[in-house]
């Protein structure tokens, strides 16, 4: 019995849709198994992890709240990935965005919110863009691999933030903890849903998703980015410059990540801390893939990823599971997706392997 993969003559449309759903389902099943192995009642654990967190109004608010930075980062990353620009440093760009936006808030505590907040968002975007410009420049000027450079910059950004909240920006009334002063109300994003922590950042994220769709599907520039990712030689034939593709791919990712960073510190966190993100920048990479690099898919995948975060937090309290369980699920989800994605381009073939006698008889008969 031989199992082999046979290339399809045309990629399967059905599987392109079904693959992320299958991967999500497989992750849930794996979760079920994991809970059993850990000695918890799987049904209870499943409930605590996946259902309870979104069973209340507050829970829904949290779900949407956590999905905002994921949507923002993932959309920016996806535009780059489609063009074969592999920005892995969203976490760093998010951090720098938070530093810039948060820094502005600390610097202008008296400024009217209607003026301050847009400035903070702009500052965050600018910071993210600047941080992403470094790997873009290194790639276009020195041909340095952007995966590694953008990643190194994550570590540098996090260290920079740690320094800032420990020394120059430390809250003088903060009992010597490494943290900045709390932001004033004028620097906080207005709430959207009473009784929850959901703020207008969510609307901004949705708007960015819509803009991303418009860009990719309906503009010549977006079309050219896609060509650059699918066939670089055809891109140069059509007059699409690689350099411009790299810059756009990296800077868009930096901008959205920077905005996401401001969204966090001007939202649920309310100040600058040594750690302002539970790995949103990395989770967004997974969201981008699971969402098929498509804005609508990214929106849905953000919700799923957000649920995984909430579940992890709930499991810490309700099931006494470590917080690392979230990261485990994230990794598993991507693995399953990569596996199910195979069937878009290939199908399984089961072939009976005849014994040598049968084969000889077959050929003699001709």
């Amino acid at each position: 019995m031989m199992i082999s993969l046979e290339a399809r003559s045309e990629p399967s449309r059905l599987m392109a849709w079904a693959s992320p759903l299958l991967a999500a389902a497989a992750t849930l099943v794996a979760g079920f198994v994991l809970f059993s192995l850990l000695g918890k009642n799987p049904v209870d654990a499943f409930f605590v992890f996946f259902i309870e967190p979104v069973a209340t109004r507050y829970g829904i608010g949290e779900l949407l709240l956590k999905s905002s930075p994921l949507m923002l980062c993932a959309l920016g990353l996806a535009i780059g990935y489609r063009a074969n620009v592999w920005n892995i440093g969203a976490e760093g760009q998010l951090t720098i965005g938070a530093i810039c936006g948060g820094g502005l808030a600390l610097w202008l505590p008296q400024l009217n919110g209607a003026l301050l907040l847009p400035l903070m968002i702009a500052a965050g975007a600018a910071g993210g863009i600047a941080w992403a410009a470094i790997p873009a420049w290194l790639r276009t000027r020195f041909n340095a691999n952007e995966i590694l450079t953008s990643l190194m910059l994550v570590y540098i950004a996090v260290l920079a933030l740690s320094y800032l909240v420990q020394e120059p920006w430390r809250d003088p009334e903060g009992f010597n903890f490494p943290q900045s002063s709390l932001f004033g109300d004028n620097a906080m994003l207005p709430l959207l849903l009473p009784g929850t922590r959901l703020n207008v950042g969510f609307l901004l994220a949705v708007a960015v998703i819509a803009a991303g769709w418009l860009f990719t599907a309906r503009t010549l520039a977006g079309f050219r980015m896609r060509v650059a990712g699918l066939a670089p030689r055809a891109a140069s034939y059509a007059g699409i410059s690689t350099g411009r593709t790299v810059w756009i791919g990296m800077l868009v990712g930096g901008a959205t990540a920077g905005i996401a960073g401001v969204g966090e510190v001007a939202g649920p966190i309310g100040q600058l801390l040594p750690s302002i993100s539970p790995g949103y920048g990395f989770a967004a990479i997974i969201v981008a893939f699971v969402g098929r690099l498509h804005p609508l898919g990214i929106a849905l995948a953000s919700l799923l990823m957000s649920l995984l975060y909430l579940g992890g937090e709930a499991a810490q309290i309700g099931l006494e599971l470590p917080s690392a369980v979230t990261r485990l699920f994230q990794g598993m989800l991507l693995f399953f997706l990569l596996a199910t994605d195979v069937f878009i381009g290939y199908r399984l073939r089961f072939r009976r392997n005849p014994g040598p006698a049968a084969a000889a008889a077959e050929s003699l008969a001709r």
Binding site: L151, L159, Y163, I286, F329, L334, L338
Partner: protein, 307 residues
């Protein structure tokens, strides 16, 4: 003065050895044409595996073996995805890193804070006692010597054996190798597993000798630096060695500066290895010709035997 210099030298070797294991393993993998970005994850899995086994059984070298096998085992997930299921190598490697970081944190929780008797540097009778030469040549951790042996093995294998020639050919052009009749997929599986085992060994070294302890994410990006190192070395084992020790020296600057009371905040000193990596990547990647002649031409591209 000389004593101090020898101490620095020894520390440089010790720090660089972490990278030597991981980078040599990844070099073999890449020479076969496979780009495995999961080094960070595999190192952590190796570290936690080694620490747990050593802690629970009391036998350190058993822990090292466990760590090595764990790294190799988890690399096979990546191998199946990319070699048999044609998945994108970049995405699968990232997934492996994220998964490895999460899995190791999860599994290692119960052992955080535990203390293990570390594997001590060598103490060769008579030889280690010799003035100057003794500490210079014979006083290092067994892992340092192991890493040099690994270097010799890899160098000999790749450039002195038929099997190594086949592996290099597969990395250069898997289609041609397949047309001639070589088993591309099988060789790549072996290369990936070897890379994973080396990464696991590197993690085991950190957990049981270098650090020695277990904490979540303790490799702090060394897996990524190892990847950069392979590029920096232009896929030559001897340059991997040189580059690894160079980075070892850079990490040392951090501690030296603190010891000397330099008035630079610790975070900036901690940034040095990452900044150095970026600079090195920029400098080395400029020369497109050198890269074309040394980088495996098929690196990162999936191979499907079309019949």
């Amino acid at each position: 003065m000389i004593d101090h210099a020898i101490t620095l030298f020894a520390l440089t070797l010790a720090a660089g050895t972490v990278l030597v294991f991981a980078a040599l393993g990844e070099l073999v993998t890449e020479k076969a044409g496979v780009l495995n970005l999961g080094v960070e994850g595999m190192m952590l899995v190796g570290a936690v595996g080694a620490f747990i086994v050593a802690d629970d059984t009391g036998h350190n070298w058993l822990g090292v073996l466990a760590g090595t096998l764990a790294g190799g085992a988890v690399s096979l997930i990546f191998a199946v995805l990319t070699l048999s299921l044609m998945a994108n190598q970049v995405a699968a490697g990232l997934a492996l890193s994220l998964f490895g970081i999460g899995l190791s944190a999860f599994v290692g929780l119960t052992h955080v804070g535990h203390v293990v008797d570390p594997i001590a540097p060598l103490a060769v009778p008579v030889l280690s006692g010799l003035p100057v030469v003794g500490r210079l040549l014979f006083g290092h951790s067994p892992f340092v010597y192991l890493s040099l042996v690994l270097f010799a093995l890899v160098q000999w294998f790749l450039f002195g054996t038929r099997a190594g020639l086949i592996l290099r050919a597969i990395g250069e052009s898997p289609q041609s190798a397949h047309a001639i009749g070589h088993k591309v997929i099988a060789v790549r599986y072996a290369a990936v597993a070897f890379g994973g085992a080396c990464a696991g060994l590197s993690g085991a070294y950190m957990a049981l000798a270098y650090a020695p302890m277990w904490t979540e994410g303790m490799t702090a990006g060394r897996g990524w630096i190892a990847l950069a190192l392979v590029v920096f070395a232009n896929w030559k084992p001897s340059r991997v060695l040189a580059g690894a020790y160079l980075f070892g020296a850079v990490t040392l600057v951090q501690f030296q500066a603190q010891a000397m009371g330099v008035a630079v905040p610790s975070q900036f000193l901690a940034m040095l290895p990452y900044v150095a990596t970026i600079v090195v990547l920029a400098l080395i990647s400029r020369d497109a010709t050198a890269i074309r002649l040394n980088a495996p031409a098929s690196l990162g591209r999936p191979f499907h035997a079309d019949t």
